[in-house]
Amino acid sequence: MRLMWIAWAFFRSALQQELAYRADFFGNVLRSVIAVGTSIGGLAVVFSHTESLGDWNLAQTLTLLGVFYVIQGVVAMFMSPSLNKIVEEVRDGTFDYILVKPVPSQFIASTRRFVLWHVTDIALGAGIIAIGLGRLGSGLSAGGVLLFLGMIAAGIAIVYAIWLTLTTLVFWFVRIENVTMIFNLFYETGRYPVEIYPFWLRQALTFVFPVAFITTVPAQAITGRELTWLMWAAPIVGVIAVIAASVFWRVGIRRYSSASS
């Protein structure tokens, strides 16, 4: 309950900071639209030469691309602003102010900031999902939508765990600025269903860096593809990943407290 109030206080101040700069809303929207537009263009080029890709048709792949942008928007809106700030603060020493606060440091580190305008990325992603589903024209069931939302939630939990883990590395390698880039690196593969990749890469993207759970599984759930064991595994993987990342965060804090001056 107390944490809710704190999160609300952070939210308010983050919103105010955002407004203090009056971010160039239309410029950013234009940028997102062009980025999304060119990647749809890319899909169109691919599908001008084929009917299906690893037995996903255009509509299904489009839906997956929508999921890709929704999750990317969530990351850009809620996760990267707070967590990238930590990397900065560990370097300049102001991270100390977080540690002396009587609230779990992971909570402060994860909730402090957000960037409002990325809501357009989420909206664009949702739009693409809608177009994809429209083209698919197979109709939606309440159960299917519920399953989809559950899979999205699991995907977001996994993404959060990855981001937190990467951020925690800063306690060992202070100089790393863009370590969270590792996420983008692997996430790039999530524009297409994990099934298209060769065996070893597919395994890596399922078990090592689970992009499969982040974009492929939710898209499978909503486009009515066959249910696989991945869907049962997704929530479990999500919970375990978040717990493991939190433990790692604590180890990182411990390291920060014993190895710096």
Binding site: S39, G42, F173, E177, N178, I182, L185, F186
Partner: protein, 262 residues
């Protein structure tokens, strides 16, 4: 001038080695995207042919593309624009050389270091995929001017976008738009020959292919003599255009910088 650039490059190298992991990540970044499209097109081609490319051709195309995209990538929006934004350009203006020389030094240093990281990854991929190489000596000889001009176009364009920071804090947004178009028309999403007719015609006319994909097509011997001729003519033309734009933007920008007094 050259000695100065060499000295600066050395200093930049020393600086970059401190960021060893970050460098490695940047290098990997340029591997991942081509791999995605390598996989996609191998799958689409199957045992057949798409726009003149067989499966092995796609593999070879994207492997070479990785190196070319690495050599041509412009980083000035990350390295040069912040100098302008934070008012740190003045000390560089006092040096007896154009600040773009030191930007070039940063660029060369970055590519050298990350190339060292990239090459083992590249060799490993090559040995795994073992694509057929069909180029010839002429292609390899022509590759030199093609890649040189591509690097130049990229650097000049990247610098021009970076210099938009003289006027706006949003130079990065404009750069992202350039990158999006580069993705679509530069030969990244597909070799230009594979694009649908309209897109292909656009790609051949616009500068993006000449900053990225053209050298790949040249070295792999994918172009007919007539295509080579128009390609080089257009690449040369775009190099000149890029140089002129660069010079104009610089002149206007520096006038503004001095007037505002940062």
């Amino acid at each position: 001038m050259l000695a100065g650039t060499v000295a600066l490059t050395k200093a930049e190298l020393a600086n970059l080695f401190q960021y060893r992991i970050v460098m490695f990540l940047y290098a990997l970044w340029e591997v991942v995207n081509p791999i995605v499209y390598l996989v996609v097109w191998s799958l689409v081609a199957g045992d057949g042919e798409v726009g003149g490319y067989r499966r092995g051709d796609f593999m070879m195309y994207y492997l070479v593309f990785m190196l070319v995209s690495h050599l041509t990538v412009a980083i000035e929006v990350y390295t040069f624009a912040p100098l302008i934004q934070q008012g740190k350009l003045s000390p560089r203006l006092l040096r007896p050389m154009h600040p773009s020389w030191s930007a070039a030094a940063t660029n060369i240093a970055y590519k050298t270091v990350s190339l060292i990281m990239l090459v083992p990854v590249w060799i490993a991929l090559f040995l795994i995929l073992r694509p057929p190489f069909q180029g010839d000596l002429i292609g390899i000889l022509l590759f030199v001017p093609a890649i040189s001009m591509a690097v130049l176009i990229s650097f000049l364009a990247g610098s021009a976008f970076a210099m938009l920071a003289f006027w706006t804090t949003k130079s990065f947004s404009f750069w992202e738009i350039w990158m999006s178009l580069l993705f679509l028309f530069g030969g990244q999403v597909a070799p230009v020959a594979v694009l649908p007719d309209l897109a292909r015609a656009l790609a051949i006319g616009m500068p993006f292919r000449y900053a990225l994909g053209f050298p790949v097509e040249v070295v792999l011997g994918r172009l007919e003599p007539a295509e080579l001729l128009t390609g080089f003519a257009l690449q040369g033309a775009w190099t000149i255009v890029a140089a002129v734009v660069f010079a104009l933007v610089w002149r206007a920008g520096i006038r503004r910088y001095s007037a505002v007094g940062a």
